[in-house]
Symmetry: C2
Subunit: 314 residues, 2 copies
């Protein structure tokens, strides 16, 4: 049986191999993705983001159990931050998820951001597509809310949950980081800590304008994931957001935007690979670099020349 | 007088306007850069990176004063992290640099990473080029060492200084974050704190292999920037690295690599702008999205088709 056949027969080792294939951009991985595409489109994708140390991994763990108990199959993608300075999901978190590991209805994959930048965002979406085609009902994508990554999660998810903890200034920080704009649901984790009520009212106050402009309620759910408190409510809020999207046609609009971005991203990758190839094959390129280094030419005009010669069509 | 003429007459307001022009990618900014290119190439570019809270801004401040005292003109680019969760250079740090503000021989520009990703890296290099053309002798680029950004600093700098503080595990963290590989010089700031000696010997131990493979000494400089301690030594180490690069031909090799990456980056921007334009003008694109949404086509094959139709040449 071919790898793809075994994948379609729900062979987990085939799933694992195809994910590695796609993640590492092996030759003809694009063909593999194109083959899987018709089987995808049924999974619901949930992104969880927030600052380091708020307990995202534990939340993902508990949410997964909740979905599993309701008969759903769950694929988890944990996007590890590239730099340990930001904290985030490391070995410890993966170990916390160990008890999910034996479960046939769940699959966990960690992806490292180190050195991949834009490439990682697309790789995450591609692995999500593989999960989707394999038949997972829910895909949980966990990323630390630092920099560019939290914006990419909008492109990868149907619902975005922003997680914070009751700490002085955390709401203001979330606002500054642009997390307010991308959240569909807010989760105050570790809500048994002091200050949870204050953060809840701060958030509710800030959300007044957003709520008045939308049919969606932007719920704020207090949880204490380690004690399994509030998980039912969080799962329910996610399902309500799903219904809201489906009823309001926003689901379709959002998915079509994601498809548009996917096409642009794939095109960009093809063109970029092409640039490197074209420059390598140009034997005068080294002379050109020498000229620029010596001030006889400049990189911008050189780029324009290459563009006109190789890419523009009359 | 034209803006460019005023720029060449060392008018700081013209400098400021051209920087904004370049930073915001205004129409024909590429032409402006091409025009400035022949005047550039003389500045020495120093990148400072490290985890949040190690005192990078204060170091930049003191280093600048050191260079100024020796008759050098200094351009500073502070790349602010996009997310306040990671700490880094904020208003407070900018205020700390206030006493440099009145100085005619120094110019400070903050750049925000928010939402710009790859674009920011190029914008930083472009602003650096503007500084260079204006006649600054030293360009100091300060970035927080989180994720992708610290790798970009290698492309923007001649010498990279990695800054850490004496804290438990900081050296291990720096290693994991990939900072060891990119550092030419290490700086242990706040070295009046406990543990500085331990960190110094840890670093020296780790650097044995790197040192044995290179003619460069990878010095570790203890500083206490707020007390102006060790700044002379740090400035001296940077100048020694510069001499090392120039004498070993590595300076030229590295600059040519930077030029190569610049060309690729400009080309990528042109092609990407082009993608958006081409898709906008394709009136059947909406139908295509609808088909993909309904599972009648897939984004990968669509991207390949667009590529073959618009970009590949026979």
């Amino acid at each position: 049986m071919s790898l793809l056949d075994r994948f379609r027969n729900k062979d987990r080792r085939a799933l694992s191999r195809i994910i590695s294939y796609v993640e590492n951009r092996k030759d003809s991985y694009q063909e593999a993705l194109a083959n899987l595409y018709p089987d995808a489109g049924n999974a619901y994708k949930i992104g969880l983001t927030g600052p380091p140390g708020v307990g995202k991994s534990t939340l993902v763990d508990r949410l997964s159990e909740n979905f599993l108990q309701n008969g759903g199959k769950v694929g988890i993608i944990a996007v590890d931050p590239s730099s340990p300075f930001t904290g985030g999901a490391f070995l410890g978190d993966r170990i916390r998820m160990q008890r999910l590991v034996g479960n046939e209805d769940v699959f966990i994959r960690s992806m490292a951001t180190r050195g991949s930048s834009g490439g990682l965002a697309q790789a995450t979406k591609d692995v999500s597509l593989v999960y989707d085609a394999f038949g997972f009902d829910y895909i949980l994508i966990e990323t630390v809310g630092v920099g560019q990554v939290e914006l990419d999660i909008v492109d990868a998810s149907d619902s975005v949950v922003v997680v914070i903890v009751p700490e002085s200034g955390d709401v203001i920080q979330a606002m500054k980081a642009g997390l307010m704009e991308i959240a569909n649901i807010f989760c105050i984790n570790k809500s048994d800590r002091e200050g949870a009520d204050r953060v809840l009212s701060e958030l509710n106050h800030l959300l007044q304008i957003q709520r008045s402009k939308s049919e969606w309620s932007f719920p704020v759910i207090p949880t204490a994931a380690v004690n399994n408190e509030g998980i039912d409510q969080l799962a329910k809020a996610i399902m309500q957001h799903r219904e809201y999207l489906l009823e309001s046609d926003l689901f379709k609009i959002h998915r079509k935007q994601q498809i548009r971005k996917d096409i642009i991203s794939y095109l960009r990758m093809m063109l970029t690979g092409n640039i490197e190839k074209k420059l390598k094959s140009a034997d005068s390129f080294d002379n050109l670099l020498e000229d620029i280094y010596n001030g006889k030419a400049d990189p911008i005009t050189t780029a324009i020349d290459i563009y006109n010669k190789h890419y523009s069509r009359t």
